[in-house]
Symmetry: C2
Subunit: 326 residues, 2 copies
């Protein structure tokens, strides 16, 4: 562990994992936290409850296709869905920097309201703090959420299980980068930021569903690595099948980004029995596709079968392509 | 509403109330949120659940008697207790500024662990974000918490109901101010930051208990105002009976602070049938005392019977004696 926190500790990559495992999970350990999912399933109550939290620090707070308010509702709602739950209640805790424009706050709160209504969740408790002026006019939002668990998800993979992605990759990361650096591209590169409730409900209906995740910070590659690193299985992604929109590909080519590591904020990654994979894709719609499979070979490793037929290892990044995008 | 957020919007006083009521509750409205308590009671589940959240931005992060980690656990645990719940699960979401020392983070996480163990709650889910270097080496912590509701609390006051405070006032606000301004006083002025579970359990056993609150941001005066402002009752505090330690009084005299508006972080304020008031004080211990009563006169007003027998109106402050102390 370094002596001081660096931006890389927040990238979602290797340093983030180390920080969380060495400093947080090791201290607070309990069965729910140790699973290191984005939400905890609490079996204490008469009915199992899913509990999740996320702080949103995206800079700039507005980006093509959304803003921090939409993100704060979608992010926590989606984490609950990915844990097998249906979201019911959210909290909203605001940290506002002195000088933040009230009109911008209103825009953000309107986005939260709209997304909460779409998700059919109530924002039932909250907190508002104001801090002294820092570097700029910032807002940070924490949402925590409670849902009812309706689907048991476990990591019991089998060889050949399919890896499905519900839509194209990396749009959120790319659009936030464009907003931050004020890059103009032809076309309409917007974030994929969206609720995943409908997609999750569809997936819940499949008996062969193993696990769901939304590939946010760190992108599809980091999420896939997290799904196998504590298992005895490997995963192979097929580069030819990775769904990347041409505008995102253009931006990545220009700037040297790997879209596998750029965040989505409205995509679902599902691992499912190979015999049910086509049916799940059909149910999810034409955007969904099989991008890889669970393998016996290379346990705990993520490999990429490249377009020219070679095999490349994908690892957690120790640096970050894009800081603070979630 | 002003055009830009000011520090006074975070003071817990008048501008905070306006911001929350006009911008937040008006948008997100639902029965739980509209009650404007520090925690929501959710009746959706088989068993009623208490849900609360709080972001902690105290500067400096360390103060005599505690740190932001202890505060982050005690604050949310106490909010659950004050809503009639016993806390079970917490989330922990960290926002770290680039450059924050890892050794300090470890100290803070150790405090969280210790307080969580004392409270018998599990930290089951979390999130860690790192933001670019701002003004200094800062950490902000959000905790959300879930508890089981075990006591129905309502606002059904009766004339003569007693207002009880479980210990002396204003120690937290005073100690954070000393730490921030690096003031040295003789003696040992430490924060009252502490868990209120035991005190809440005691209070729950009284049939005449009307309501519980912890007088944090805005202090005893602001909390009392919040308890009557939407009722048809008034409240009178008795200045002679306000428990103020001599070191806190000295600091307030020196600096012109009113201890009625300085935060506590380990004190319980209870409103209870006058016939059970002495018994509750006895059960809570020698630190607890009756500081006032519910009145028919002056509905929705908080009055202070001063030491010389005069009556003074106490109002929500529009400014703040001490920013960012919770």
């Amino acid at each position: 562990m370094k002596n001081n926190i660096t931006l890389d500790h927040g990238s979602g990559g290797l340093l983030t994992s180390r920080l969380i495992e060495q400093e947080i999970v090791s201290r607070f350990q309990n069965p729910s936290l140790n699973e290191l999912k984005d939400a905890a399933v609490l079996e204490h109550f008469d009915q199992d409850i899913v509990f999740s939290t996320d702080s949103f620090v995206v800079d700039p707070w507005k980006f093509p296709g959304g803003d921090i308010g939409k993100l704060a509702v979608c992010g926590t709602v989606n984490d609950i869905c990915m844990a097998g739950g249906l979201p019911r209640y959210l909290s909203c805790s605001l940290i506002l920097e002195e000088g933040f424009p009230v009109a911008d706050l209103q825009t953000i709160l309107n986005s939260m309201k709209e997304s909460a209504q779409q998700a059919n969740v109530s924002i039932v408790t909250g907190d508002t703090k104001v801090i002294e002026h820092q570097k700029g006019h910032q807002i940070w939002i924490n949402t925590a959420g409670i849902g009812t668990k309706i689907k048991d998800l476990d990591y019991k993979y089998q060889e050949g299980d399919a890896v499905i992605l519900s839509g194209s990759m990396a749009r959120h990361g790319a659009s936030v980068f464009m907003a931050r650096e004020d890059i103009q591209l032809e076309g309409n590169l917007t974030s994929d930021c969206a609720l995943l409730i409908d997609q999750a409900r569809i997936a819940f209906s499949f008996s062969g569903l193993r696990i769901l995740r939304d590939p946010t910070r760190g992108g599809v590659a980091t999420t896939c690595l997290e799904l196998i690193e504590h298992s005895s299985w490997g995963m192979e992604l097929d580069e030819k099948k990775l769904p990347i929109d041409s505008d995102v590909q253009t931006l990545c080519d220009l700037l040297g980004f790997d879209p596998l590591y750029l965040a989505c904020e409205g995509r679902m990654l599902a691992i499912i029995d190979q015999h049910q994979a086509d049916a799940l894709c059909s149910a999810l719609g034409p955007q969904a596709s099989i991008i890889g499979k669970i393998t016996k070979e290379h346990p705990q490793k993520l490999t990429l079968k490249t377009k020219i037929g070679a095999t490349r290892m994908l690892r957690k990044l120790s640096g970050q392509p894009l800081p603070r995008i979630c």
